[in-house]
Amino acid sequence: MPQRSDEQLMRDYARGDVQAFEALFRRHGQKIYNLFLRFSGDPQLAEDLLQECFLRVIEARDRYRSENAFDRWLITIAINLLRDHHRRSRRRNEKTMSEEPVAPDAGNPAGTNPQLDLERRYLQDAVQKALLSLPAEQREVILLSKYYGFSFAEIADMLNITPAAAKQKAYRGMLSLRKKLAYLKEQDT
C-alpha cells in the first residue's frame, strides 16, 4: 500500500481513523518535540508544549483544510505556542527558560570514547546556550531552516514576514552565534 500523505492522514483522522493520527505523530512528533527543546532548552517545557501542540491538532481536525501543507500548518501552531509562552514569561518577568540547558544525550551512538563523548556534550551544551541567547525571532528562523530544512521563502510565509526579513534575521542570528562559538574554532586548530 502506498504511503498516505500527511494531508490524507489528517483527513482520515478527522473521519475517525486513529491509526492515521498515530502515523502523523510518528512522522512529526519527534521533530516538533526537538523544535521546542532546542528553542527552550527545557525538557519539561518542551514536553508540555508538545502535548499542547498536538491537542490543538486534534481539536482542529474538522477545520483543517488539506490545501495547506500539513507540516507547515503544524509548525505554525508550534510557533504560536512558543510565542504565547514567550510573551507570558516575559510579562511575568520570570526566567522560565532553563538556566542550565540540558545537554541532549541521545545522540552519541558509538559512545566508545569517553573523552570524545565529554567533548561532544560540552560542544552541544555550548551550542544550545548560544542558541538560547539569541532573540526569539532569530532563533525561530535559524531552527526552522537548519533543522527543518525550510527555505527562507517558506519560513517567511509561516512567520508572516518577507523573505528578505527572514534572511536578515537569520544573518543577525548567525553573526551572534559565530561570535559566541568563535572559541570552538580556535580549539579545533
Binding site: 512528533g29 532546542r38 502535548q51 498536538f54 507570558r88 511575568r92 541521545a106 551550542v127 534572511k167 537569520a170
Partner: protein, 299 residues
C-alpha cells in the same frame, strides 16, 4: 560583489544551501580576499556546531498522553453523556468548572462538619451566607489553579494547589478527630490534663490550631512545590494566606458556640501553623530534591 555581501551570503548558505552564490563568483572572490576566506572557515565551523545538536526521542509519557487524547476525541463513546461529562470535568478551560468544584467542595466539607456538630443550631441566614462565601472562595482558588495549569503560571498554581491540598487534608483529619474534640479529649486525658489546665482554653485552641494547619500546609507545600522554585518564604506565606481564607469559615462554624477567646486562639494558631508549615514543606521538598540529585551525582 563586496565583502559584506559575500559574507552575508556565506552565512545564510550555511542554513539554506539554495542561497549559495554561483560557484565561480565565490571562488573568484575568495581567491583574492583573505578576510572572506577565513570567514568561510568560521561559518563552516558554526554550521558543523549546529549539526551537533542531537535529536531526542519523544518522552513516552507525552506520547501516551497525546495518543490517548487522539483516541478519545474520535471514539464513538465521545458522544455519550458520560464522555461529555468527563470532558467537561477534565477541561481546565471550562469556566463553569471552578464554580462547580466550589459548590462540590463546600457541600462535602459542610457534610463533614455536620457529622460532628448540629449545624441546624446556627441561624439559617448566617449558614447560607457562610456557604455562599465559602463556595465563592473555593471557586476563586480553583480558578487560580486552572489558570496556573493551563498557562503554566507556576506561581499561581503553587498558591492554589498548596492551599487546596492543605484544606483537603485538614478535612480528612477533621473527619476522624475535629479540633474541638481533640482539645476536649486532651483536657480529660490523665497524661495531658495538667498541661491543658495550665493553658487557658484559648491557649489550648492556639496550640491545636497550630498543629491542625501546620501539618496540612507542610504536606500541601511539599506536594505543590515540585516545579516551582522562586521566593520560597514569600510564596509559601502567600499560600498560607490562601489556605487561611479557605479555613476561616470552618473555624467560625466550629467555634460558633464558643467564646471569642477560643476563636482568636484557634485563628492565631492556624495562622502561625500555616506560615511555618508552608515554608517547612517547601523547604523539605527542595532540600530533598537537591539531596537526591547530589546522591545521584556522587554515588
Amino acid at each position: 560583489m563586496n565583502c559584506e555581501q559575500v559574507q552575508q551570503q556565506l552565512a545564510v548558505a550555511v542554513l539554506d544551501p539554495s542561497q549559495a552564490l554561483p560557484e565561480q563568483d565565490l571562488t573568484a572572490h575568495l581567491e583574492r580576499c583573505d578576510i572572506c576566506r577565513s570567514a568561510l572557515q568560521e561559518w563552516t565551523a558554526v554550521g558543523q556546531a549546529l549539526q551537533e545538536l542531537p535529536e531526542r526521542p519523544v518522552p513516552p509519557a507525552a506520547r501516551r498522553a497525546v495518543l490517548q487524547h487522539a483516541h478519545q476525541a474520535v471514539s464513538p463513546a465521545a458522544n455519550s453523556v458520560w464522555a461529555w461529562l468527563r470532558e467537561w470535568l477534565l477541561d481546565w478551560r471550562n469556566p463553569m468548572l471552578p464554580i462547580f468544584m466550589g459548590l462540590l467542595t463546600t457541600s462535602v466539607f459542610a457534610l463533614v462538619l455536620a457529622m460532628h456538630m448540629d449545624l441546624s443550631l446556627l441561624p439559617p441566614l448566617g449558614l447560607t451566607l457562610a456557604g455562599a462565601m465559602w463556595t465563592g472562595l473555593f471557586a476563586v482558588v480553583f480558578y487560580l489553579f486552572s489558570v496556573g495549569m493551563r498557562q503554566r503560571e507556576h506561581s499561581w498554581r503553587f498558591l492554589a494547589q498548596t492551599a487546596l491540598v492543605a484544606i483537603g487534608i485538614f478535612f480528612v483529619i477533621t473527619v476522624f478527630s475535629p479540633l474541638p474534640h481533640a482539645v476536649r479529649f486532651c483536657s480529660n486525658f490523665s497524661l495531658t490534663q495538667p498541661l491543658m489546665e495550665r493553658l487557658s482554653i484559648g491557649g489550648a485552641y492556639f496550640v491545636f490550631g497550630v498543629l491542625y494547619s501546620l501539618v496540612p500546609m507542610a504536606i500541601g507545600a511539599f506536594v505543590a512545590a515540585g516545579r516551582y522554585a522562586q521566593h520560597p518564604v514569600l510564596r509559601s506565606s502567600m499560600a498560607g494566606g490562601v489556605f487561611m481564607l479557605l479555613l476561616a469559615p470552618a473555624i467560625f462554624l466550629q467555634c460558633a458556640p464558643f467564646a471569642l477567646g477560643v476563636v482568636l486562639g484557634w485563628f492565631g494558631g492556624a495562622m502561625l501553623g500555616a506560615l511555618v508549615g508552608g515554608v517547612l514543606g517547601y523547604w523539605a521538598r527542595h532540600r530533598l530534591v537537591r539531596q537526591s540529585i547530589e546522591m545521584y551525582l556522587f554515588l
